[in-house]
Symmetry: C2
Subunit: 294 residues, 2 copies
C-alpha cells in the first residue's frame, strides 16, 4: 500500500508540465492563447471534511468557497465551476446552498456529474478562473527582507466548528460559510511576492510557503490577530478553515487592503520557521494535515 | 428525498449561463477572450462504474479516457486534467495506468486533490480542452434530411466486460481501456450538425440527441456495425462503454474519417426514435441509465 505522501510524490513525477506548478501550489496556472487560466479542485468527504450533522446547504457553500479561496490566493477572477455530486439526504438544501454561494460570488455552474454510492458521501468541485495579473502569485516567491502579512483574524472557524459540534448557539458562520477573499486577492496580486490561502493552519501553511520559497519565515506570534481568548492563541495559529490570505511583500509596499504584519522573511536557516526567534518544538505539527473530522 | 432526475432539474434551474448548455451536452463550452474552452467532469464509483476486481491501472485509464471522449465529441484538443483521488489498495498500479493514458494522449496532469474515506472508492476527473472549430458541435443541431452516422462497431465493450466479470481469456481491452476518438472528433467537428460520444448505449444516446435536436431519428438497426454475434445485436445497440462517436451530417458531406451510416433525421414525430420504421416497444429502456455495476 502506497501512503499519501508517496502517492503524491508519484503524481508529482508525472506532473511535469509547468502549469502544474509541481502540484505544490493552490491551483494550476495554464496559459491558453492570450489568457491565463487558474484551475483548482477540492474534494470533501462526509465524516472527514464535513460533519454528518451539518446542513447540506452549508456543505455546498463550503465546497464552492474553499475552491474560490484558492482562486483568490492567485488573484484570479472565477469563470465557473463543475460539480461532482453524490445523491443523498438533504439534496434540496444542498441545491439551495449552492445557489446562494454561486449567486453571492456571481459564479456560473457549468457542468459536472451526479452519482450514487452506498458509502459516505463525497463531493468534488472544480473551479476555473482567469488571472487578473501576470505573473500569477505563487507560494515560491518570498524574498529575504519581505514583510509577512495575514489578511485577517484566525480562530473564528475553530470557534464556529465548536459551536456546530456542540450544538451551542455560538456564532458558527466562519466555519459553516467561509468567505473567499476574491477582491482582496485581486487587489494584492500585483504587489505580493508570494501568496496562498490559509486552509490548514497559519503555521503549517507558513512553513509550506517558506519551504517553497527556500527561505525562513520569522513570525512574531503575538502580532497575529486572533478571534479567540488569548489563552487559546496557540490553537488559533494551528487550526485551519479560516481562509485568510497569507502573503509576503516588500516592506515599502503600500497595501491596497487592510492586513496585519506578522513577521519578516529571512534567508534559509536551520528551520523554515522561527516563532518569536525560536524554531518550533520537535513534534509540533503546526497544523492539521490529517485530522478527521475537520 | 430528491431523486436524481429532480436533483438535475434543480441544478438546471441554476445553470442558466449559456456555457452550461443546459447541463444537456457532453461538456461545458466557455468563451474566454479569444479562446473557447471545453470542460467536462466524470466521477467513477467503485462497485457502480467499475468492478472492485479491476486492475487500478485500468480504472485510471478509463477515468481519463471517458473524459477525453467527451472532449472528442466536441472536437476539442485536451489541455490538461485535474484528478480527485481516493487513496486505497493498488495505488501504485493506479499511477502506472494514469501515466500510460496521459502519455498516450499527450495530456498534462495539472492538479487535483487526494482524500481518504472508509467507504467505496470514488474518483473524479476534470478534463479541460480548447475547441478546434467554432461553433462547437452540440447534441442539438441535427437537421431534417441529415444522415446519421456512427464511427465504429458497438458491443466490443460488452464482450470485454463479460471477459473481466467471468475471468475468461476473451479480449477485454475495449472495456478496460476505451479509446477516446480525439483525432476523429477534431476532423469531424467542422462538418457535423450534431455530435456526441456513445457512453450509455447507441439507442439511448440517439434518443437524447434526437430530443435535444427536436427531431426524430430513423435508424436502420441492421446497418449498425456490431462486434458481437448477430443474435446479440439488440444488446450491442443498448450496451454502452464503447465511446464511439454518434453524429449527423448532410448526406452530401465528404467524411474525413471512416464511419457507418445508420439512419436519417426526420421531422419530429410521435417518438424521437424509429427503429426499422417502428417506435421502440413500450418499456424498452434503450440503454443503461442506472445499471450497477457497469
Amino acid at each position: 500500500m502506497v501512503d499519501e505522501a508517496d502517492f503524491i510524490a508519484r503524481l508529482r513525477a508525472i506532473a511535469t508540465h509547468p502549469a502544474a506548478r509541481g502540484l505544490d501550489d493552490d491551483a494550476a496556472v495554464l496559459t491558453v492563447g492570450s489568457e491565463t487560466l487558474v484551475m483548482t479542485h477540492d474534494t470533501l468527504v462526509e465524516g472527514v471534511h464535513v460533519l454528518p450533522e451539518q446542513d447540506p446547504a452549508d456543505i455546498a457553500w463550503k465546497l464552492v468557497a474553499v475552491n474560490l479561496s484558492d482562486l483568490a490566493a492567485k488573484g484570479a477572477e472565477p469563470l465557473g465551476i463543475l460539480l461532482s455530486h453524490m445523491l443523498g439526504a438533504g439534496d434540496d438544501r444542498f441545491v439551495e446552498g449552492l445557489h446562494e454561494v454561486l449567486d453571492r460570488y456571481d459564479v456560473p455552474l457549468l457542468g459536472g456529474d451526479t452519482v450514487a454510492s452506498p458509502g459516505p458521501r463525497v463531493w468534488g468541485l472544480t473551479a476555473i478562473g482567469r488571472a487578473t495579473h501576470a505573473p500569477v502569485p505563487s507560494r515560491a516567491g518570498a524574498r529575504v527582507g519581505d514583510a509577512i502579512f495575514v489578511s485577517g483574524t484566525l480562530g473564528a472557524a475553530l470557534a464556529g466548528f465548536e459551536a456546530v459540534r456542540d450544538g451551542s448557539d455560538g456564532d458558527s458562520a466562519a466555519y459553516r460559510r467561509p468567505v473567499p477573499l476574491l477582491a482582496d486577492g485581486q487587489a494584492l496580486a500585483p504587489l505580493v511576492t508570494a501568496m496562498m490561502d490559509i486552509s490548514d493552519g497559519l503555521l503549517l501553511d507558513a512553513r509550506r510557503m517558506a519551504e517553497a520559497s527556500g527561505r525562513t519565515f520569522a513570525i512574531d506570534t503575538r502580532s497575529v490577530p486572533i478571534a479567540l481568548p488569548e489563552d487559546r492563541r496557540e490553537e488559533a495559529l494551528r487550526w485551519g478553515d479560516d481562509y485568510q490570505l497569507l502573503f509576503t511583500a516588500p516592506e515599502s509596499a503600500e497595501l491596497p487592503v487592510p492586513a496585519h504584519r506578522i513577521g519578516t522573511v529571512r534567508s534559509a536557516g536551520g528551520h523554515p520557521l522561527l516563532l518569536d526567534g525560536e524554531p518550533p518544538e520537535p513534534g509540533d505539527t503546526l497544523g492539521y494535515e490529517h485530522r478527521a473530522p475537520r
